[in-house]
């Protein structure tokens, strides 16, 4: 039988559309009957939503797990949303959420890019939902100008780039040639981290940057680029600085294929495979932003404000947009990070800003 007739096509199309709609609308809605004014929600009426790009990324999966851990702590559940790195889909999910009951809605959001943050903020402000964003926001968008956008958390990329740069310099004995694998060149993360490496190079004058190339944060691209750099620089190459762990892991695969064991590799993000590599001694260092904590903290801040334990006016300006603490992981302390757990004390309302390293300048 051939599916060429028009009715069949229509039926198929409608079925697909219905399936897609059903899939999307699952996460909407929530319990109503909360108080009318801000900060008057009963704890059990709060709806917690965590949204990241995708669960196939171990870091973002751990983020949502951290959100679940916090939700369990307060006797609720978290809605886990993912948008596959698709900005349009993220906005659709947000508008759907905001079209439902928003009175006691708490959202912990990872915006896809800087430009995706303003519409989310405007939407939350209008609907009266409590919003915490992380990583991406335009520099000129000021959190303190909004009542519902409680806080924006990010990490100082210059600091982490410098931390692993210093660890790499130490691992190669303070002198020798290194190469840098940069991230996607037009992202703030890539720029900041590389600036951090340059600071580290200035502090370690005997370490020479032989080459810097981009591998677009990708493990596969890093493999190819590292192979080429290995043939180009041969034994002069003593260390590889990668702007994230995926690229560091690609570089490790290239080193294995080239039969080189004398090259130190550092990355950022603390993905599970990188931690394993550090345990095995094949990788030197990485930096952790503590994904599970990120997943919990945004919900915790929102929950505290929604239930009235914390008032927006009482949050200091430097806690509205801040750098959170990050941790350098080396062979010495890797054991503490292999099974990340959240600490309930971090999410107490008078403790939610305890990891601040200062306001975003």
């Amino acid at each position: 039988m051939k599916f060429t007739s028009r009715p069949t096509a229509i039926v198929l199309g409608l079925t697909l559309a219905a399936a897609a709609l059903a899939g999307c609308s699952e996460e909407a809605g929530g319990s109503s009957s909360g108080g009318s004014e801000a900060g008057a929600c009963a704890p059990e009426d709060v709806t917690l939503v965590g949204q990241v790009r995708n669960e196939s990324n171990p870091y973002e999966a751990a983020w949502l797990d951290g959100g679940d851990a916090f939700a369990e702590q307060v006797g609720l559940t978290q809605d886990r949303l993912t948008y596959d790195g698709d900005s349009t889909r993220q906005q659709e999910q947000i508008s759907q959420l905001l079209a439902g009951d928003t009175e006691c809605l708490v959202m912990n959001i990872l915006p896809n890019g800087d430009s995706d943050t303003p519409p989310i903020v405007e939407g939350a402000e209008e609907a009266g939902a409590y919003l915490v964003t992380q990583w991406n926001k335009p520099a000129d968008l000021n959190v303190a100008d909004y009542d519902q956008w409680l806080s924006h958390i990010t990490y100082n990329g210059v600091e982490s780039g410098k931390q692993i740069g210093d660890a790499l310099a130490e691992a190669i004995g303070g002198s020798g040639g290194i190469v840098a694998l940069q991230g996607i060149l037009d992202t703030g993360a890539a720029k900041d981290r590389f600036a951090g490496l340059e600071e580290s190079l200035a502090a370690n004058p005997d370490v020479e940057l032989l080459d810097d190339q981009t591998a677009n944060f990708s493990r596969d691209e890093a493999l190819a680029v590292t192979k080429t750099l290995l043939t180009k620089h041969g034994d002069d190459l003593k260390g590889i600085w990668a702007a994230n762990d995926d690229m560091a892991l690609g570089a490790l695969a290239a080193l294995e294929q080239a039969g080189r064991t004398d090259v130190a590799v550092v990355g950022i993000d603390a993905v599970p495979d990188a931690l394993t590599a550090i345990e095995d001694g094949t990788m030197t260092a990485t930096v952790s932003s503590d994904g599970p904590w990120q997943g919990g903290i945004g919900l915790a801040i929102g929950f505290c404000v929604a239930t009235g334990e914390l008032a927006v006016e009482d949050i200091a300006d430097e806690d509205r947009a801040w750098f959170a603490e990050q941790f350098l992981i080396t062979g010495d302390n890797v054991g503490d990070f292999t099974s990340p757990e959240v600490d309930a004390a971090d999410f107490e309302c008078d403790n939610v800003f305890s990891r601040s390293q200062g306001a975003i300048s």
């Binding site: 051939k2 599916f3 060429t4 096509a9 198929l12 995708n54 669960e55 196939s56 171990p58 999966a61 940069q182 060149l185 080459d211 810097d212 190339q213 981009t214 990708s218 493990r219 596969d220 493999l223 190819a224 680029v225 192979k227 080429t228 750099l229 043939t231 180009k232 892991l249 690609g250 695969a253 294995e256 294929q257 993905v271 599970p272 495979d273 394993t276």
Partner: protein, 337 residues
């Protein structure tokens, strides 16, 4: 009865078109471009002209070569295929969960590779079926199938990266024969098989004919649809093998194993002289295109072009190479009017 047949034919018949054997001048553009670019880089950079770097280029071209083998058949038909990222991702995750790995107790070895390739072929078949049964343009069906493949991969992925410990599969990327990694020899094998299919099987010849003049073929009583499905299935199998090869290289199954390979492969095929309108080009053309693209990527790093400039420079050279390669046939190369 005794008509002067011999004399007649000499007068009436136009000269028979030459059967295209060997390298005609028309097909020489891309190989010449490859040689020129190779020589240029060799002149500029001492690091580029080492044996080690040539090995490196061949190894780096392996995965792209296999993807391009698959996509070439689809392009010859005049269709387009954007399903490589999803199909490769699904195959990569499937194979990493079937051979010895850190997620489960499976240890299927070569059988696991075969199952992953079959899964990929099935996804390719799905593209073909959607194309011929539902009459959806191949651009959309393959985009959809790519999403399906990524969905399957994400489901199988389940939040924990599968790392492979299977010695055979890991060895493919590390062990060498005559200076090249096993994966590179696998890519050579794929190009050879692709070339044999293209030249000596009905599937290959019909793929050409469909791209050239589908109506003529249909009017002469050939059922075109099964061949279209078969071509997409074949392409899917090649993508699947490429996904397995990426897994071998990284010793881990990645959902994003095929990211970017769709357009990289289409670029390679077109640079090599396979037309987007179908009916021309072929596996060997595409293989030249793959080498051209890989030499370019490698050479720009060897020469030391700043990463901020590389993307733009690479794009310019690709456009220039395509333009140079297709001047003899430029009237046919337009997909958009």
């Amino acid at each position: 009865m005794t008509s002067p047949a011999g004399a007649d034919t000499e007068v009436v018949l136009p000269p028979r078109p030459q059967p295209r054997r060997g390298v005609s001048l028309r097909d020489a553009g891309p190989p010449i471009a490859l040689a020129v670019i190779f020589l240029l880089f060799a002149l500029i950079s001492p690091g580029f002209r080492t044996i080690g770097n040539v090995q490196n280029i061949m190894d780096a071209a392996a995965v792209l070569a296999v993807v391009t083998c698959g996509i070439t058949f689809v392009l010859m038909m005049g269709s387009i295929d954007l399903s490589a990222p999803g199909v490769m991702g699904a195959a990569a995750i499937a194979v990493s969960l079937l051979v010895a790995n850190n997620r489960n107790g499976n240890d299927w070895g070569l059988l696991g590779v075969l199952v992953a390739v079959l899964l990929a072929a099935a996804l390719g078949c799905l593209s073909g079926l959607a194309l011929v049964l539902l009459k959806v343009p191949s651009f959309m069906t393959t985009l959809g199938v790519s999403a399906v493949g990524l969905g399957v991969a994400t489901l199988l992925f389940g939040g924990v990266q599968p790392n492979i410990s299977d010695e055979m599969l890991r060895g493919w990327a590390i062990e060498r024969f005559l200076g090249l990694a096993y994966l590179t020899w696998i890519a050579f094998g794929c190009v050879l098989i692709g070339w044999l299919i293209q030249c000596y099987s009905r599937l290959g010849r019909y793929a050409f004919a469909i791209g050239g003049a589908e109506e003529v073929l249909a009017l002469s009583g050939v059922k075109v649809a099964p061949y279209k499905v078969a071509v997409f299935t074949l392409a899917g199998a090649f993508y699947g093998l490429a996904g397995v090869m990426v897994t071998s290289q990284l010793s881990a199954g990645l959902v994003q194993a095929g990211k970017g390979y769709d357009f990289a492969a289409i670029t390679a095929a077109v640079v090599g002289g396979t037309l987007l309108t179908g009916g021309r080009g072929g596996i060997l053309h595409s293989a030249v295109g793959v080498l051209l693209v890989t030499v370019l990527t490698n050479g720009l790093v060897q020469v030391g072009v700043s990463p901020y400039w590389q993307g733009g420079v690479q794009g310019l050279i690709v456009v220039a190479a395509v333009a140079a390669a297709v001047i003899p046939q430029r009237r046919r190369n337009q997909v958009t009017k």
